[in-house]
C-alpha cells in the first residue's frame, strides 16, 4: 500500500475511534451521580484510551500524507480542516489530563467528528504547492494557527456544556432560543455533509461556462442540482437540470446553490427530529451536561483561552507577518483572511479583559467562548468562500 492510501485509511480509523470513544464517555457520564464519581469511572478510562488511539492514527494520517506529498498537509481546505479536527482532539486530551472531566469529551469528540466530516466534502486529492505556498513558513504558520484555534475551540465546548447545564429548557427564554440556535447550526453542517455526500454518490455533475466579474469566460462544475446559474451561463452537460435563476457576476452561484441545498437539508433534518421528540433538540443533550460542575467548566473554558491565546497570537499574527513579509513583501496587507485573524485576536483580547476586570464569568463568558468559536469558523469557511482574498485555498 502506498503512503497516500495508507493515509486515508488511517483517517478513517481515527474517525471511527472518535465515534466509539464518544459512546464510552457517554457511559461514564450516564453511570455517575456526581462530578467526582465520574472522574474515576472505568468507562471514562476506556473512553480516553480510545480517544488517544484515534488521535495517534489521526497523527499517522497527517505524517503519511506529509510523506506522500512532500509538504505539510495544510495546503488546502480538506487538509486544513482535517488538521483542525485533529488538534481539537489533541487539545481535549490535554485538558482532560488537567481536569479529568468526561463531559468535555462527550461534546468535544462529536464536534471533531462533524468537522472531519465537513473537511471530507472538499476535494481530498493531494495537490502540489503553488509558488506562494512554497515556504517552510507555511508549515510553521498554519500548524501553529491550527493548534491555537483548536485550543480556543475547547473553550467553546466547555461553554456549551456549561450553558446546557444551567439553562432551563422547559421554559421559553432568550438563552434557550440562542442555545437551540447553536444546535441548529450544527444540524445545518450535518445537513451539508449529508446532502453533499448524497449528490456526489448520485454523480449528476453538470458543467457550465459563464462570464466572470472581470468579463472573462470561465468554466465551472456543479455537484448539486443547479438552482442558481452563474452569470450568462451555458450548459455543457446535456440533460443537466436548467438553473432556475441566473445570478449577476459578483455572486458565486455555485456556492449559493450548495448553501441553499445544505440549509434546506438541514432544516428538513431539524424539523424531522423536532417532530419525533417534540421538544427543543437541546434537551436531548442536556442530561449529559447535568453532571458537570459549573465552576469547573467555567475554569476549563477560561484556561483553554489562556493556553490558546498566546499560541494563536504566535501563529496567526507573528508567524503570519514573518511569512507575509517574505512571500508578499509586506508583513501586513489587510487581506480579508488576515483581517479576520486580527478580529479573532481582538475578540479574545476583549474576552480576557472582560473576564479579568469586569468579572464576566459563568454564562457570559461561556457565550463569549461560543461566539469566539463562531468567528473562528467564519474565518475558516465563509471568508474563503465569500470574501475572496490572497489566501483563498481550493
Amino acid at each position: 500500500m502506498d503512503f497516500a492510501s495508507l493515509s486515508s485509511n488511517l483517517l478513517l480509523v481515527s474517525f471511527i475511534a472518535y465515534l466509539v470513544a464518544t459512546l464510552f464517555f457517554g457511559g461514564a457520564v450516564k453511570g455517575a451521580k456526581t462530578e467526582k464519581a465520574y472522574q474515576n469511572s472505568k468507562w471514562g478510562t476506556i473512553g480516553i484510551t480510545i480517544t488517544i488511539i484515534g488521535f495517534l492514527t489521526h497523527l499517522g494520517y497527517f505524517i503519511t500524507r506529509w510523506i506522500a506529498s512532500g509538504h505539510a498537509p495544510v495546503s488546502n481546505m480538506f487538509e486544513f480542516v482535517t488538521a483542525f479536527g485533529m488538534m481539537i482532539v489533541g487539545a481535549f486530551i490535554l485538558l482532560f489530563y488537567m481536569y479529568r472531566t468526561p463531559s468535555l469529551g462527550l461534546f468535544a469528540l462529536p464536534i471533531a467528528v462533524v468537522i472531519i466530516g465537513y473537511a471530507s466534502m472538499f476535494p481530498t486529492e493531494i495537490t502540489p504547492l503553488i509558488p506562494a505556498l512554497k515556504s517552510y513558513w507555511l508549515t510553521v504558520h498554519v500548524i501553529t494557527v491550527v493548534i491555537g484555534e483548536a485550543i480556543l475551540a475547547i473553550s467553546a465546548v466547555a461553554g456549551l456544556v456549561l450553558l446546557l447545564k444551567v439553562t432551563d429548557l422547559t421554559k421559553k427564554s432568550k438563552q434557550r432560543f440562542w442555545l437551540e440556535s447553536v444546535i441548529f447550526t450544527i444540524v445545518l453542517v450535518v445537513g451539508f455533509i449529508l446532502s453533499s455526500s448524497m449528490f456526489s454518490i448520485m454523480g449528476n455533475e453538470a458543467e457550465f461556462t459563464y462570464i466572470d466579474k472581470n468579463g472573462d469566460p470561465a468554466k465551472i462544475e456543479y455537484i448539486y442540482p443547479p438552482i442558481f446559474g452563474m452569470n450568462e451561463y451555458e450548459a455543457l452537460t446535456p440533460d443537466a437540470m436548467t438553473p432556475l435563476f441566473e445570478m449577476p457576476a459578483i455572486v458565486n452561484a455555485k456556492t449559493l446553490t450548495t448553501f441553499v441545498w445544505s440549509v434546506a437539508t438541514g432544516i428538513v433534518l431539524y424539523l424531522l427530529i423536532r417532530l419525533i421528540i417534540r421538544r427543543p433538540i437541546a434537551t436531548l443533550f442536556q442530561p449529559f451536561a447535568k453532571k458537570a460542575n459549573t465552576r469547573l467548566m467555567d475554569e476549563i473554558g477560561y484556561r483553554s483561552v489562556l493556553i490558546g491565546f498566546p499560541v494563536f497570537t504566535l501563529g496567526a499574527l507573528v508567524f503570519a507577518m514573518i511569512w507575509a513579509h517574505e512571500a508578499w513583501s509586506r508583513f501586513w496587507g489587510w487581506d480579508p483572511k488576515e483581517v479576520w485573524a486580527l478580529i479573532t485576536w481582538l475578540f479574545y483580547a476583549a474576552f480576557l479583559h472582560l473576564r479579568l476586570s469586569r468579572g464576566w464569568e459563568g454564562e457570559k463568558s461561556a457565550w463569549l467562548a461560543v461566539i469566539g468559536f463562531i468567528i473562528i469558523m467564519f474565518n475558516l469557511i465563509a471568508v474563503n468562500l465569500i470574501l475572496a482574498g490572497l489566501h483563498s485555498y481550493a
Binding site: 486529492e125 495537490t127 481582538l346 472582560l354
Partner: protein, 549 residues
Amino acid sequence: MSKIKCQCGHENPFGTVLCERCGRPQTEDAINSKTVDMRYEGSARRSQTYKRTIIDKIWNFFSSVKIGISIIVAVLATSAIGTIFPQKLYVPVSDAELGEYYERLYGIFGVIYYKLGFHDMYNSWWFITLIGMLGTSIIIASVDRVIPLYKSLKMQRTKRHPSFMKRQRIYGSGQVNDADDSINKAAIKLKELRYNVKIEDGAILAEKNRFSRWGPYVNHTGLIIFLSAILLRGIPGFYVDETLWIREGEMLEIPGAPGYYIENNGFTIENYSIEEDDEVFSTALERVGMIPKNYQTDVSLYKNADDALPGQTENIELVKDESIIVNHPLTFDGYSVFQMDFRLDELKSMTFQLTEKATEESLGEFTIDLINPDDKYELGNGAIVEVKEYYPDYDGIKDGEPYSKSPIPNNPAFIFKMITPEKPEGEMSFVAIRQTLETEENDYKANFLSAETRDISGLTIRKDRTLYLLLFGGIVFMIGVSQGSYWNHRRIWIQKGEENEILLASHTNKNWFALRKEIEQVREYADLPQYEDREDTESELDDEEGDFK
C-alpha cells in the same frame, strides 16, 4: 494628600483600600464587605483617587478597562466592515474610476460603501484615531495599575491581619491537634510544591509565580513598541516601498536604492505537469488543469562606484547574480527585492518587408525595436523607410489624429514614409497590426513579417528598518502574554489563632481549581482545617466524598 495610617503602624498612600503591609481593610466599604476585591491588592490607584482636574478626567477615561474594551471592540467592528467589499488596494481600477467600479459591482451598497470611505478603511482618519486611542489607553491603564501593584506586593508582610484573611475567597479556620506541628508540616509540603515559603511569628506566607502578575504590563509594552514602530515608518529613510517593471534584457536603476542597478536576464514561469511531476499529484492536475509551479526572474545586481555621479553607469560593478523566486527575495544592503508580478509576451520588435505591390517583389526587410525605434531604416539599393510617427499603444483616431493610450507597445502603429528609386519623394502609409491605411493608392507597402516578444517582471523593492523593532515588539508581547497566561500568582496564608486554631486563606489571580488541588495536598499532609471556596457552591458534595482532584 494625607497618608492613611493603619493600626499596624504602616503609612499607606491616600486612596488605599487594604493596608499594604498587614492587609487590614481601610475603607468603610471594605470593612463591611464579606470578600474583598484583590485585583490590585487594594492599592491606591491614581484613577480611583483623583477626579477633579481635566487631566484627572482624561487619565481616568483612558485608564478605564471598560473604555479600553470599547476601543478594542470598535477596532474589531471597523476592521470587519472593511472586509465586506474588497478594499481599494485590491481593486483593479484607477482612483478616478473607483466610485463607478463599486457601483457597477455592488449596486447601492457599493455606492454607500464608497461614499462613506469604507473602501479605504484602514487608512481612514477615524481608524487611525482609534488605533491612537488604543495605544493611549494601553499606556495609561498600565501605568495607573502597575506602580501601585508593584509597591503593595513588595510591601506585603508575611503575617496578615485576620480581618484580611477572613475576606479572602478561599478561607477556613478550625481547631487542629497540634498547631505548631501543622505549620511546620505545611511549610515542608509547600516547599515541595515549589512555593516560596516565608515564616514569621508562627505565620506562613507561601507564594509562587509573582512574576506572572507583570505579564499584562510586559505584553502591553510589546504592543506599544509594535505601534511605535509603525509610526516610525512615516520618517523618510526608514521605509522604502517601490515597484519596478523590468523587461527581459533591460538594465535599470533600482528605485529607492540609489547607486544600484538591476538587469533582468530572463523570466521563467513553470506549471506542474502530469508527466514530469510526482504522480500523487496527477488526480489534482487532471481535475484543476493548470497549477503554477514557479515564477522566477534571473537577475544581475550591479553597484555604482562610490564616487560616481547619479545616473552614470560606466563604472558599475557586478555584485551578484541571483534568481528571485516567490518566497526567496534578493537581498542586499538592507533592501529586499521580491518577485511580485509578471507580464508575458510584450512585443519587443517587429520585422517588416518592403514590397512592390504589383510584382510582390521584396526590396528588403527591417526590424524595429519597439522601445527605441530608429528614425529611418536603409534597405540598400536606395530604398529607405522613414518612421514619421510611432504610436506604441494605438487606440483609434482622436481629433483626426491617431492616438496612443500609453507608451507600452501593446498595439504598435506607425506612419512610414517609403522612399524608393521609383518614388524618390516617398509614399506615406499608416501601418498597424492587421491594418494598413493609405491617403492615396501606393505602389509599395510595408508587410508585417514577424514579431519578437519578451516577458516583463514585476518586482517590489522594500527596505524596512522598522522590521526588527516590529519583531522585537512581537517578541516582548509573546513573552508577556505567556508569562501572564501560563503561570498564575498563588498565595497561601496560614497562621495560628487561639490555642490550636489554624487560619487558612488563599488567593490566586486565576484558575482556582488548580490552586485548590495544591491546597488539598497541603491540607492532607499537614492536618489543616477544612476551608471553603466562597464562589463554588457545587463541589461541596464532591469534597465530602473524599479526595477531590
